[in-house]
Symmetry: C2
Subunit: 308 residues, 2 copies
């Protein structure tokens, strides 16, 4: 079985997507964009023993590889459409591939994303690169660089759960909600798609809220302050970790795939059942200050970085 | 240095590309497609010790990662525009990255391709995935599936050189032309862009002429016959390998990155200095027959395949 057959067998799905003229099976995919839309392209790679433990299930690896990219698409205010996969494996095992493809499907199908191409190769470690291209009304993508002094800083959902779930699993423990938040992060695609025209800047929380918000502020050339009492902490996280650990996980745990964005507080779109919490304000200057009871708290960023 | 800084430092180039609204540095790239064009997306991965030897220079790895994708774009009759890079490395060494980026640039700049995003990760082996998106007049992409009975089968340039160069290097020998053909394959982007409306089907020669032409014929639901005397063999290949080896390298060596296509012989676009050779005909039925002096020659496909 060559790599071409591999891809066909495990990843091809019947699709009636009208925007896919040619999918998997030719030298390239042929896609038909809508008029008056910009394209938004994101790519994210997961490497065994770096981004996921060797014992993570193939389903969860496939799911995560898509979810982390959907989260980037959401942070741009775009609509996800087409996906490609570059998959490097030590061996081609049918059960692994079936489970992996099911996870990939599970995350993609929920948002109408079609797998249109890919490349499967043999190598000494598992590397999963997914690229998703979406679209957005021309000129309406949300960047990191648009935050304005006076904007309110918001974050969706709750933060710290995923890192808590990961730490519990590593310690041989489990808590259902936290484990699920780690294993199956939910990208905020629907809400992200409503943020155009409302959010002045946005980023998805992957490295950790503190680090990612710092990046947004720095790209915008502004400073910010957040009130630690306002951080949205889930009941499950509160009941499982002490207050200091909650704070560390919420600020630096990462893998949340929530959206952190800045906006005029009077101009928020309807978020439905998704909680959206104001955590601070954009102000002149540079850097991110953490406050508690109105006083500055010394917080050292320890968000996850490669090649540190 | 985190992966984000890595990408910025080594891969960011000044660009005045009008079709790139946002390049490297945000959650995603924002691209502006031209109206009435289809998108063509290709992705190809190179893995250390599988697609390139561990001692291949970083420049050559970067060059090749782009060239193999450009070749797929050319085979679709498209114009390459935007590129993303997913790069997995054991370590982040400045000299390696500079050399790699120079190779990437060298192959991309010749065709006006802009690097618009990517992800750099740590891992136990070097994996380079490049994705290129191009465009083509809506409905005009050249597929593998359009070959018609009576069409002539053509191939550009000469075949077998690259594999010959690779074999010589592996044996500690060198021949300047063949080594260059292996190290710096030239994707036939310009000619591919002229093939729309002329070629009925096309594929790029990466696995080997025999295997790749078989794929084209199979996708088109037709058979074909080629005359081995017509295979375009370079003078360098003729003078370095015996006749049997020339044939093996030309038919199954692979890594040629020439275009194999079918067309009405009366309807070829101007190929300028690029040699285009008629090597056979499309006929009813299935399979690919090799002929010599009008007689069938038994040829066993031994093109390179992963996970064989």
């Amino acid at each position: 079985v060559d790599e071409f057959e591999l891809i066909r067998r495990y990843f091809v799905r019947d699709s009636d997507a009208r925007d896919v003229c040619v999918g998997i099976g030719d030298d390239g995919a042929v896609l038909r964009p809508d008029p008056d839309r910009d394209l938004v392209t994101v790519v994210d790679t997961l490497v065994e023993n770096v981004h996921f433990a060797a014992d993570m299930s193939p389903f969860d690896i496939g799911y995560r590889a898509v979810a982390v990219n959907l989260s980037d698409i959401a942070a741009m205010g775009a609509r996800p459409r087409w996906m490609t996969l570059a998959l490097t494996l030590r061996e081609a095992r049918a059960d692994w591939l079936e489970d992996f493809a099911a996870g990939l499907d599970s995350a993609a199908a929920a948002h109408g994303v079609t797998l249109v191409g890919g490349d499967t190769t043999r190598g000494e470690c598992i590397v999963v690169s997914v690229q998703i291209t979406g679209d957005v009304a021309a000129g309406s993508a949300i960047l990191r660089s648009g935050a304005r002094v006076g904007d309110t800083i918001f974050v969706t959902g709750t933060v710290g759960d995923s890192a808590a779930g990961r730490e519990l699993l590593a310690a041989g423990r489990e808590q259902e909600f936290l484990t699920r938040r780690f294993r199956h992060p939910i990208a905020r695609v629907e809400f992200g798609g409503k943020l155009g025209g409302a959010a002045t800047a946005a980023i998805d929380v992957s490295d950790g809220l503190y680090t990612d918000l710092e990046k947004l502020l720095s790209a915008s050339g502004v400073g910010g302050v957040i009130d630690l009492e306002c951080l949205p902490i889930s009941a499950a996280l509160r009941s499982t970790f002490d207050r200091e650990a909650q704070r560390r996980l919420a600020l630096s745990g990462g893998d949340d795939y929530e959206l952190c964005f800045t906006a005029d507080a009077a101009n928020l779109p309807d978020s439905g059942e998704l909680m959206v919490t104001a955590i601070g304000k954009v102000r002149p200057g540079a850097g991110l200050e953490c406050r508690e009871a109105g006083k500055t708290v010394d917080y050292t960023d320890s968000g996850y970085r490669h090649f540190k």
